[in-house]
């Protein structure tokens, strides 16, 4: 019994879940409108889009790297999605597929460069960030595409079963898919193995290069999906989509207990991390605090979370040392 309890207490999702519950109760009791169905709809929308962004980064953290170009890929996919519908008159689903393919290709480009050359992911994705953003600006000349069809707009702005936005559906699909990938699929286990110890993974016959390439392709696809969801929500293809994804994309996985050196991530923890960020952002709005303050809070959240993770690591090391 106590063993089970301590396992729950030590789980990645326990701390974030406790914060979510406490924060909801506290904010809800001070300001009852926090739990209104309209507010819950706004929260769910934010969580749906931001969790796809967070998973796009989390999968790269799992393999022990980083992807600075998540936002640039998302932005490029977003404007391609809107542009293809406006300029070429493609139907929504077809344009979405093409945009996902663009995201996957962008991720493949990153992954192939990193795997083939051994250059650090930081430099490669910083450079490709600039390349993708430049293509975005070159195509749009910094002007948005307004010609988004009504069906896409409706998907991004209507709800079902009361306050649940339709955009939650793709997010749920992604959560299930990522869980299945990391827990049940060979590729997922390879990703975690490579992130945990690259040379050990290589020695046990895992192709590190192939795993890295696949991981980046998945990350690019997810970033593109987030971009598409953004277009549906904003009802236009804004070239600046993705510009401010960098900090939130790292915040949620880190709050969820991801080890930045790779090999250990938590899907449920990351999801809760996204919820925490959304609740705090929303609370700042409700209490009329300067929205710019979100940046400060996000920064402190990251510091706090990496600090906690580090403490846990130290404790584990100590326990292992005693044995």
């Amino acid at each position: 019994m106590s063993a089970a309890l301590s396992r729950v207490l030590q789980a990645d999702w326990f701390g974030p879940l406790a914060i979510v519950i406490v924060a909801t109760l506290v904010i809800g009791s001070i300001e009852p409108s926090f739990l209104s169905s309209f507010n819950i709809q706004i929260l769910l929308l934010a969580v749906a889009v931001n969790c796809v962004i967070a998973f796009s980064q989390m999968i790269i953290i799992a393999v022990g790297q980083m992807n600075l170009s998540v936002g640039a890929i998302g932005g490029l996919a977003a404007i391609s999605f809107a542009g293809m519908m406006q300029v070429w008159g493609l139907p929504g689903p077809l344009a979405a597929l093409a945009a996902l393919a663009i995201g996957a290709a962008a991720g493949l480009f990153n992954g192939a460069l990193i795997a083939a050359t051994g250059i650090s992911a930081f430099v490669v994705t910083l450079a490709s960030l600039s390349v993708f953003k430049g293509i975005n600006l070159g195509i749009t000349r910094a002007q948005p595409f307004y010609g988004v069809p009504e069906s896409v707009k409706a998907f991004g702005n209507t709800t079902f079963l009361g306050p649940i936005p339709w955009l939650v559906l793709p997010a749920i699909l992604v959560v299930v898919a990522i869980m299945h990938l990391l827990n049940r699929q060979v590729l997922g286990r390879h990703i975690l193995a490579v992130g945990g110890n690259q040379s050990a993974a290589e020695l046990s016959g895992i192709s590190v290069a192939r795993t890295v390439v696949w991981t980046h392709a998945i990350s690019g696809t997810l970033a593109a999906l987030a971009g598409i969801m953004f277009v549906a929500r904003l009802q236009l293809g804004q070239p600046s989509i993705g510009d401010d994804w960098l900090i939130p994309s790292f915040a949620a996985p880190v709050i969820g207990g991801a080890v930045l050196a790779g090999g250990h991530v938590s899907v449920s923890g990351t999801l809760l991390g996204v919820v925490i960020v959304a609740i705090i952002t929303q609370a700042l709005v409700i209490f009329r605090i300067d929205p710019f303050f979100v940046q400060v809070v996000l920064g402190f959240l990251i510091l706090w979370a990496v600090g906690i993770n580090r403490l846990r690591e130290i404790r584990v090391e100590r326990v292992l040392g005693r044995i």
Binding site: A127, S130, K133, V306
Partner: protein, 354 residues
């Protein structure tokens, strides 16, 4: 997370081995080494591109263009230095842009709201940069975490606090001497800002070549454990590196203020992200190892100078300012690939001669 992959380490360690045996090598191979160095490559590239630009675009060699080119170059070089001094430790400082904007706004506040005299306000801005850098350094050393995630968080905090305090308003009433300095031309071609960058470059070279502190920084960056055993106080050295990075970012920021004639919160984009690419381009093109322990101040200078020249020339060619970012990103990739090929070539050469 930024753990060096084997391919990243191997060529450089081979290269170091070659460098250690330097005097034993023949004169011929030493010349070859120089010809293969980043510095020489960059000089050739700058010469080629400057030649092409001055032949094919009418505006490139005009005194005014050379002046603005030098002024932008001065700022980019300083931003590159600011990242370089942290890369020496094997770390990164993502918050260079955020620290720069904070220093610029702090400067604006000191002269406009407090009415401090110019030299005091400049000192205040540099002190603010140093303080923010020190905060980074202490957080990194105390937590034992990689500088990437710490400076990612502080970038958000520094910029957020600045915007929160100023409500994103610019300070436009800065002393006329300051804007006059930004507009000043020496011999109608050269901006005095460029001279400042050159002076700082010389000082940094002296730091790494001549002082024990600079040596300790390089040793700590190359192999922290070994340096610690030989008596280097790693933590203190790393914190100093980050403070120095903050000061250099603040210098770059005051240069931007002198150029713009105002301290504007959006001068480096959201969270100061726009400084990130120039900050990494200079050192990486110039041959500073991302894994730490090796630095080339002259290389960073040339790397940043090359990027600015190329940007200026491409704009003269009217490739379209929107596509410019794609060119710069592609350039960074190309440069890193060439550098990799060069190091592999050198490593092979070193083995053959051994």
């Amino acid at each position: 997370m930024a753990s060096p992959t084997p391919t990243e380490l191997d060529p450089s360690s081979e290269l170091d081995a070659v460098a250690d045996r330097g005097p034993l090598l023949s004169r011929e191979s030493q010349t070859l080494r120089f010809l293969l160095s980043n510095e020489f490559g960059l000089i050739v590239l700058i010469a080629i591109f400057a030649g092409v630009f001055s032949l094919f675009t009418p505006g490139f060699t005009s005194p005014f263009n050379q002046f603005t080119l030098g002024r932008t170059m001065a700022i980019d070089i300083m931003i590159g230095f600011s990242m370089m001094v942290v890369i020496v430790t094997g770390g990164l400082n993502l918050s260079v842009g955020a620290i720069g904007v904070c220093a610029a706004i702090g400067f604006g506040w000191l002269v406009e709201t407090l009415g401090l005299p110019l030299p005091m306000a400049l000192l205040g801005a540099l002190a603010l940069g140093a303080t923010l850098g020190t905060v980074n350094g202490i957080l990194i050393v105390r937590s034992g975490l990689h500088s990437f995630i710490i400076t990612l968080a502080t970038m958000s905090i520094f910029f957020g606090v600045m915007v929160f305090l100023t409500h994103a308003e610019a300070f436009r009433i800065i002393p006329p001497e300051m804007s006059a300095f930004g507009k000043m031309r020496i011999l109608s071609y050269v901006s005095p800002l460029l001279l400042i960058s050159i002076a700082v470059g010389v000082l940094l070279t002296c730091l790494y070549r001549l002082t024990p502190l600079g040596r300790e920084m390089l040793a700590a960056g190359a192999k922290a454990a070994a340096a610690e055993l030989s008596g280097v106080r790693i933590g203190r050295t790393f914190v100093i590196c980050h403070s120095l990075s903050g000061v250099l970012a603040a210098i770059a920021a005051t240069m931007v203020v002198a150029r713009n004639g105002a301290a504007i919160p959006s001068m480096a984009g959201g969270l100061g992200q726009d400084w990130l690419l120039p900050a990494v381009l200079g050192p990486v093109l110039g041959g500073t190892l991302l894994t730490g322990g090796r630095v080339s101040v002259f290389g960073t200078f040339l790397g940043s100078a090359f990027v600015t020249t190329l940007t200026n020339g491409l704009l003269q060619f009217r490739v379209g300012e929107f596509w410019l970012q794609t060119w710069l990103g592609g350039l960074l990739l190309l440069a890193v690939l060439i550098d990799l090929a060069r190091r592999r070539y050198l490593a092979r050469g070193g083995r053959r001669m051994a």
